[in-house]
Symmetry: C2
Subunit: 117 residues, 2 copies
């Protein structure tokens, strides 16, 4: 249900990440609390929360005229797992270093990756 694709789309927006951060500290928050804490305006917060809800990143609970939002592990974990699938890339310390330890003893100081003016 919580696909990493939808989650990463949703998280690809700074203000939504801010909202997730706020909910992380507070465990549960109403829209107005998030409005106050984020500096965004109420309609924007509601819209972002809608997107986050669709992505299974938050859940809502109706409480009188308040809506209490909280983080939802499902979606967050999906994204976490997506990145975890790349774990081998950084766990083998081969980053920008692999040529050096390879069997090729070429003494040529390769122009140090990344800089190709």
């Amino acid at each position: 249900m919580a696909d990493a694709d939808g989650v990463l789309d949703a998280v690809g927006e700074p203000n939504r990440r801010r909202l997730l951060g706020l909910l992380h500290h507070q465990r549960e928050a109403t829209v107005s609390e998030l409005v106050a804490a984020s500096g965004l305006r109420q309609p924007q917060v509601s819209k972002h929360l809608k997107v986050l809800t669709r992505a299974a990143l938050v859940s809502v609970r109706a409480d009188g005229r308040y809506r209490r939002y909280r983080l939802r592990g499902e979606g967050l974990q999906a994204a976490h797992d997506w990145f975890a699938s790349f774990e081998n890339v950084w766990q083998a310390r081969f980053d920008t270093l692999d040529e050096l330890v390879s069997a090729d003893p070429d003494p040529d100081p390769e122009p140090t990756e990344e800089q190709i003016p």
Copy 2:
């Protein structure tokens, strides 16, 4: 250097995620290989690779007239860590379930979150 913010912005686009996936399988690929494998056109691939490079998600190595791209752990790990910081949210199985195990034995069948028509 590799901030999660930039990474999450970069990854918030489906075709860039596809390119990352392709590079994951192939360890290293030229632009034309990525063009062939992704179905995107060459300029688009180059542009996406530029974004991914800025986000420290890939590195380039000049090889004659080819540019060999490969994944870079730095950026990926930054994003992984960002999601990992939320780990407690799903590790405590409190998702959509916490009210049930809370000290409140209220038998009221709360309208099952998420559905507030």
